[in-house]
Symmetry: C2
Subunit: 226 residues, 2 copies
DNA sequence: CAGCGCTTGTGACCGCGTGCACAAGCGCGG
DNA sequence: CCGCGCTTGTGCACGCGGTCACAAGCGCTG
């Protein structure tokens, strides 16, 4: 079990980690529903669209407060607002991409990226040949400028797309510059101070997990499915 | 709790899902150790490299069998063999990439992809303008050819990198063609039959989770960290 | 060959997450 | 205004996963 530290802090409304991980699913489903000008939605319908269980939807949403109406369902517009607020999507989150190789460029060119408040404000690479190149609306800048870039553009999230050996050093620079949220695509363990949130996306791991289940050819547990 | 079906099947040695998800971490750490010509490794050292707890390492590895020696540790070479065997990395896994846009091309050009038995054998796109284009050593083929491609090249894993609206249709085609393992990068819920393993990588979800913790500025639980 | 130090393997405990099932409660129709 | 149907919100029980702590066991040394 994850050790919950800071037991003294009251921490008003704490939302379970598992719920946090599902909020984006609900958010996406809610936007689809809102597009169809549907006013209210039941937990059953939302569960269907988000690919989860209805009871879980209700319990998850109850952590945000009681915004549903019994016998009717949830007001879609209101719920979208509550979920976005909880996820912090009402704010603007400046993002920096570190490492502009195959993956970094794909991320930089990805339109859907900036769709919900995540705005790419800097592209940083260590390769002098790459510095100065334009990618979309931005120009690649040197790593030495990272610290001032983060400060001036209020970078909140750093996305690491460098080769694995460089990842820790890049993460250290990000942390030193004051970035408190990092998404790491490099296949290596990166250590950050406890106050920094680090998440990872690891293609090799995903493939190997698929490989395991394929080899053992047994049904993969529900949780691992969408 | 995930519903475990097939209670009648004996299922000799069943490895917990959480353990399976960590095996790739151990595998990566073991390769690093093997590179340094180190003969044995303790659970403590392995835990350090994999970024997990030593007790967890021991319990995880005990599920593969008792390959350690008390007072000494684990034989690195032997353990690499056991973990690869368990993960199915001793086999060759032909992979097809569906959708050759920004992301699909990045994946197709990714060298580290084929490093451990995962070999890209087909690139498929629905856009007639893209069909026939060369990407690396391969040529983009039309979706209509998918079924015969899967059969002839023994495609085991399908990677979906199409826009979200096309993802379900592509998944359906893959399943119909006999692919039993799918990795989905499109930000949408994809439904597959229970015998098919589906995993997803969702950038928007990851960013939104980071956004949540950043906004609530509290320490993220250990499990979410690397 | 006995003792010692080190490391594994695991028993025990505990909390989180999940799903069931139902009471509470809202709105509508008669 | 009453009752009925529908949906939420949640109490409860259960199992998985995580951690601790220690007994078991291996090898080395004297
Ligand atoms: N390409 C993919 O599809 C893919 C998929 C999954 C994971 N990954 C991982 O993502 C990372 C990037 O992959 P890629 O294919 O884009 O690699 P790449 O070699 O094409 O690009 C890496 C980039 O990082 C830059 N770089 C190196 N050191 C740096 C530093 N210290 N600071 C800033 N920039 C630095 C390089 O100059 C280069 O531009 C790798 O760790 C890879 O394993 C890639
Ligand atoms: N680009 C990124 O960095 C990135 C990151 C995370 C997630 N994604 C997701 O990955 C997917 C692809 O992103 P992208 O930026 O490469 O998009 P893209 O538009 O550049 O490429 C999509 C490709 O899919 C092809 N396609 C469309 N319908 C198809 C079908 N039915 N069968 C086969 N191919 C089809 C298109 O012709 C196109 O080549 C999207 O769902 C996106 O949300 C992209």
């Amino acid at each position: 079990m994850p050790r919950r530290e800071e037991p003294d802090i009251p921490e008003a409304r704490l939302i379970p980690e598992a719920t946090v991980a599902r909020l984006p699913l609900y958010y996406r489903a809610l936007l689809e529903i809102a597009d169809q000008s549907i006013g209210t939605v039941s937990s059953e319908q939302l569960a269907e669209l988000a690919g989860v269980n209805a009871a879980k939807v209700r319990k998850d949403l109850s952590h945000l407060g009681s915004y549903g109406t019994r016998g009717v369902g949830y007001d879609v517009e209101h719920l979208v607002g509550e979920v976005s607020r909880e996820l912090g999507l009402t704010r603007d989150w400046p993002v920096a991409i570190l490492g502009l190789g195959n993956l970094g460029r794909a991320l930089a060119n990805y339109r859907g990226f900036g769709a919900r408040g995540f705005r790419i404000v800097a592209l940083v690479d260590a390769d002098p040949d790459k510095v100065g190149q334009a990618v979309g609306d931005l120009t690649i800048e040197p790593v030495e400028a990272l610290s001032s870039i983060v400060a001036q553009r209020r970078v909140a999230i750093g996305v690491i797309a460098t080769p694995a050996p460089a990842a820790q050093a890049v993460a250290d620079r990000l942390v030193a510059a004051g970035v408190a949220s990092i998404l790491n695509f490099a296949p290596t363990v990166v250590v950050v101070p406890p106050e920094v949130t680090l998440r990872k996306v690891d293609l090799a791991t995903e493939l190997q997990i698929l490989s395991f289940y394929q080899q053992h050819r047994r049904r993969v547990p529900d949780r691992a499915r969408v």
